[in-house]
Chain length 129, copies 2
Amino acid sequence: MALKYSRQREAIKEFVMTRLDHPTADEVYMNVRQEFPNISLGTVYRNLTLLSDMGELLRLRVGDGVDRFDAAIHPHYHFICQECGSVEDLNIPIMESFNDHAGKGFGGQILSHSAQFYGKCSNCLKNNS
Amino acid sequence: MALKYSRQREAIKEFVMTRLDHPTADEVYMNVRQEFPNISLGTVYRNLTLLSDMGELLRLRVGDGVDRFDAAIHPHYHFICQECGSVEDLNIPIMESFNDHAGKGFGGQILSHSAQFYGKCSNCLKNNS
DNA sequence: TTTCAAATTAGTAATGATTACTGATACCAT
DNA sequence: ATGGTATCAGTAATCATTACTAATTTGAAA
């Protein structure tokens, strides 16, 4: 099971890296299809999973039932717009002390956390809906 | 579409309220079936969704691909054991200032957040696996 | 450069969670 | 008691994701 190069995997990774939003497998599929018209959705999923497992991508689950993929692999928080569903990275550093804070009076051991922030993105604010 | 009483819905809500862990729809189904052997999984889902929409239950998505339901409807953080997958409530208050903190240098408007903490639960710590 | 085993692919079938549909039943105001 | 409608059980459909398989691609050794 030594890893072998594949042009499809390369294109998938390249595409995710160009995006600041957090494309779903289907969005990746739709776009990579322009370069590889016969690529299959299974190939996209397999490679996204592979790249995530290798730590070259982040698999993101923000609770909308679809997996999203993020080329920014450093730990960070996410913002989800309640209006349009868009997902953005937030630039504040991870609050490490939050782990200890949450562990007060808790019997187990807390090692990490993730957080999602909700509200309106700048676009939806502008269109004041 | 006035709401009508149903014994099934009552039993579903009752069951979730007795539980401190966060049962999935299937777990609710398995248990309510003891009282209503013919209840269908669809009925369980419909009522869990209805109760969540009415704000009497919380629908929880912690990223394991299954929806969980929580009778503790006040906002609170969750802990997920990386060992056994169990989900527990954390008793610390929501850190409201986190919203403003995260909004620094962000163009949109942050109204709320959720957070999940990961590690080992007390049970798995005890069995030091 | 040819060769060949192993990894990867495209295509498709299978899975698992959830939702939608339908005719029968239960609730409840009149 | 009755009639209208919400709810039900049962089942089919959907959606995201994973698994399977025969054919193709890769890359290291001959």
